[in-house]
Symmetry: C2
Subunit: 202 residues, 2 copies
DNA sequence: GTCTATACGCAGATAGAC
DNA sequence: GTCTATCTGCGTATAGAC
């Protein structure tokens, strides 16, 4: 029944991703995934042996999806202020396409730290180069002297947090008005760039 | 066997809180909680009828714990810069005592938005007063003109995110060195105050 | 109030027919 | 490769003895 190789694998993987990301690992049953994929439960085991293995592949896929575009920005020759701006745009675009991803990843890593170790081992992220550049610009007087890691965490925080906390913010700060949050998020890109540059420039 | 009224309830509630916060709602079994409390499984049902009801009480308790101290800061007559500084200290102290709380709350609200609605209805948070004060100081030229909600989200993001993302950051940015992260977090308070004030002052 | 015993369903996983 | 049937264990919850 399968024309292309791995067609069914991808079909399952996509379905599993949607459910896992929405309901979490322990909150998802194999039946949920089978229903989402429109197939039979044993087929999941046939193709992925176990829920554990299926989840691992989903996690890895979701996790890695967030990196290539960002790496491209970080490895470019642009000054920090430009990288920052591009990072905000790139990351925001990804998050708009998969807004549930941050909370999914943060939660899985928190409740099962082992899941991450394997994933990052396979790709070798190295933020050191970026730290060096930041320190360089601090030396040159372009940026205010500070701990580059604090800058990095701030950047991630301000971009990612609103997505992870959206349901909270929507109810507490926006009275449940979802459309208003959308507007807020649209304007946020411009705000962030200004806000951030003001803090780090010398 | 119970001397004080509600002694057993509290014992269970505390145990349940520890397990729920660590493993999440769906990742926690009643047996886990009974073991943690050192009691028998049916006793949980006797005191709380169902896992659902037990969880609801835990969630509400955890959620509300984060508010009174913060509310005190927000309702004071201090200028924004002072409130900000106190907020960072207060929130950080709470988070240091229960560092897993952010990811617990964010995840539960994301996977089951209904849980939040009930909790906030009972306490009536109102950030509008704070927004007005921020706008006031903007009018007076103390703060740079901006959207107060963006400021608010930035503040929450920079304080809360490092706790929610700690396992991630620890592995990716600190090479798994936990002690170094502790040091980083200690220094972060001072950094945050400077960083933030630079961004918002006129 | 606290226990043992138990009911019942659904979870993940596999056997085996087609 | 895909299905039905089935195994086994664990999940929540309750009945009933003490």
């Amino acid at each position: 029944m399968e024309a292309l190789t791995g067609e069914m694998e991808n079909k399952i993987l996509d379905a599993a991703t949607r459910v896992f990301v929405r309901k979490g690992k322990t909150g998802t049953s194999m039946q949920d995934i089978a229903d989402e994929a429109g197939i039979n439960r044993p087929l999941l085991n046939y193709y992925f042996r176990s829920k554990e293995r299926l989840f691992d592949q989903v996690f890895y896929k979701v996790f890695i999806r967030f990196l290539p575009d960002v790496a491209k920005v970080f490895n470019s020759n642009l000054p920090i202020s430009e990288k920052l701006s591009k990072f905000i745009d790139t990351y925001t675009e990804m998050l708009n396409q998969s807004p549930l991803t941050p909370i999914f990843i943060l939660n899985e890593v928190a409740t099962n730290p082992g899941s991450l170790v394997e994933a990052i081992r396979k790709m070798g992220i190295d933020p050191v180069i970026l730290f060096k550049q930041i320190e360089d610009e601090m030396q040159k007087g372009i940026l205010k002297k500070d701990d580059p890691r604090q800058i990095m965490v701030n950047m991630l925080a301000m971009v990612i947090f609103p997505y992870a906390a959206r349901p909270m913010l929507e109810h507490i700060m926006f009275g449940g008005n979802s459309a208003e949050v959308d507007l807020f998020m649209e304007k946020r890109n411009v705000h962030l760039k200004e806000f951030f540059i003001r803090s780090i420039k010398a």
